[in-house]
Symmetry: C2
Subunit: 113 residues, 2 copies
């Protein structure tokens, strides 16, 4: 099973507190996006609101998706002072969250027969 | 905030039942990957085991990540008989799961000043 170039996706799924305003969320996401400029192993950042149908989101409202080239990169990011400082502020506004890291792999049926 | 070409990520995060063997999980993931060949709006599929440090994964073990071009595509996929049949089998092996759909957006600081 092909692991695309060792890329690691670091997925932070959050439910913001009811009192957190859209402006505050917007600001927090901009601050997160700016970490790409400050933390070398953080290669890219994407985010989105949950838009799923079916009520299987367990109450989570936002995905913050960071891409790294290795698990070492993730560890360096987690420990980086700019991230530590950011996370402290972010978590003040978060009611609950979960973190999943995974190496996105595909299956190549054409190659495997 | 730039939403990359209207792409929708459909993220299924699962904890498999303790009794489910690695071979069964492998088979389930291959069957899921094969849906790309059967369901037109399902554009690509990636998966990965959780490899996060820090115990914030809430017990989830696997991510199944599907990519669509629209929310209509997601709805068509959900209702497609091949998916309905697959989901029935998958959920037999799943202790808990969550589903998040989001449109991955970036921030362009260069453009926004």
């Amino acid at each position: 099973m092909d692991e695309a170039k060792g890329v690691v996706k670091h997925i932070f799924v959050a439910k913001f507190k009811d009192g957190t305003t859209p402006n505050q969320i917007d600001h927090l996401i901009r601050e997160m996006a700016n970490l790409v400029n400050l933390i070398e192993p953080l290669k890219s950042f994407h985010w989105g609101k949950d838009v799923s149908a079916g009520n299987k989101n367990q109450g989570f409202t936002h995905v913050l998706e960071s891409t790294f080239e290795s698990m070492e990169g993730v560890a360096e990011y987690i420990a980086h002072p700019a991230h530590v400082e950011y996370a402290k502020v972010l978590l003040l506004h978060v009611e609950k969250y979960m973190v999943i890291d995974y190496k996105p792999a595909t299956l190549n049926f054409g190659l495997e027969g």
